[in-house]
Amino acid sequence: MALAEVRLLAGEEALLNALPHTEAGEAARAHFTAAGLPNRRVEAFKWTDVRAALAEGIPEADGSAGLIPACLQDALVLDFAAEGFGLEGEKDQGLIIETEDSLELEGAGPLAMLAAGFAPRAVVLRVTQSQDRPVVLRRHPGAPMRVRLELEAGTRLTLIDTGLATAGLSTGLLEIEIGADAELVRYSLQNGGTGAIDLTHAAVTVADTGRYHAIALMFGGKLARAETQVLLAGEEANCLIHGAYLLSGSTHADMTTKVVHAGPNGQTRELFKGAVQDRARGVFQGKILVERAAQKTDARQNHHALMLSEGAEIDAKPELEIYADDVQCAHGNTIGALDDQALFYMRQRGIPEAQAKALLVQAFVTDVFDAIEHEGVRDWFSGLARAWLEASSS
């Protein structure tokens, strides 16, 4: 990797200068000084060029962290702002919150390193008893976040993380350890303006019969990428990842996931749906790797996307890599346009074209949200999707 001659762009220089002088900050600086920021020449970033997005430097942060919706009024809110980390509300028994200045990096890849580098310290959440109230991680515009979350055996937590900046560079790193028979349910929302660069990485390890269920909704930004790496380390570990991206204007959203089955009898269910219009670009990269020891793995991956305009772009790279011989694995990937016949049928019944399109797109993405157990969050996400459809069809 150590290329002696990497010529850094002005934007990269500015970014490296902005990294704090912490251990992780220095590590990131050293790495990116040598390798440069991830760009289209790097396979994993060929459709999401971080260097190009930051070529003119870090955009000035703007926008708000967003309001907590009524359905989450009982939640414990952790705020990650440029000024630092804050806590809203009383925490319950069985949840320990600490901060750590120095933690070994669990995540892999440049975005994990970048997010760790920007975070002044890590917030460590330890769940020792199941939590009834959800925990919200609210990322403010231009702010870094690093959270380590440990669920002890048999515990349960619902986590919501949001990044709603209209402009600025926001980074997030989640390092998650799910103990035996523990369950994390995670709902992620990203909505950014055309000046927002939002880069997150989640590194998840799941022990025996543990469960990681995550449902994400992205509206993109100047550049938004959400990476998820799941290691199903134990036996009968369970992973469900659903994602929807709804993109218009010139926004860009990237959902990149890698699930590694290392233990036997594991199960993975992935469902991604996207709808992209105008000149927006949606990226899906999904890899499922089944190691030799992971016999009886049952893994399914589906990605289906709709191109709603000629100038829209969708790039998809589904991958299955299997080393065990007794497994059930399947994947499906389609990219298409709305069905003209269905559209005409609806218009013949009197439904105006824009409304017919919105109904069809909503019907197309809705099964992504069906996996949301929290009724309030399901309504919230569905409502956001509906609002996007109404705004983009009017």
Binding site: D339, D340, Q341, A342, F344, Y345, M346, R347, Q348, R349, G350, I351, P352, E353, Q355, A356, L359, L360, Q362, A363, F364, T366, D367
Partner: protein, 248 residues
Amino acid sequence: MLNINNLQVEVGGTHIIKGLTLQVPAGEVHAIMGPNGAGKSTLSYALTGRDGYDVIGGTATLNGEDLLDLAPEERAAKGLFLSFQYPLEIPGVPTLTFLRTALNAQRKARGEGEISVPDFMKLSRDVAKRLGVTPEMMKRPLNVGFSGGEKKRMEIYQMALLDPRFMILDETDSGLDIDALKVVSEGVNALRGPDKGMLVITHYQRLLDHIKPDRVHVLAGGRIVDSGGPELALALEADGYDRYKDAA
């Protein structure tokens, strides 16, 4: 009511309807019969405004209002309804949501207020009972997993609910067994009225035993080549379409 004059339609550059003239006065049901490829479905799509069915000449009006310049949904709001030969499945959209959206969109286009949810529920239940549409069917996504017969029943159910002024039935009998044909026909007959008109497109005479037309027209080679009373349908059933081969 429906007035078509010298209509010319192209599909993908091929001239299909070549000067079709037809009047259906209010209160009447007209049948259009013809061999495969005569242009029967093309006529129904051109009248309802489907993309790709290019009207290159002639006129079509409903109650004196030009149809051809209107978008499909505007034609629907004027009261034009097409019962499809192959009704579409719309996954993810519950039947009742679809119908309420359609009904309210039409009312809005006509400057009428939205129908309230209780009124709509009552209306949909009443109509469903008449047509043997089960509550289970209404809860499912529109037409998804329906048999051919169920889809046709659902078309007539939609027609009854939307209460159009002019109805085009495109091969409504195809895929129906005799019991389903009776239910569907009764549903259609209930929608006849002095201020309504109907165009029944069919390949076979069978449907016309149940939906009795006032006039029968033969469409061949993109033109009406013969017209007559109900007895014309019986003659066609006996003799086939061969004698119109050259008329086109």
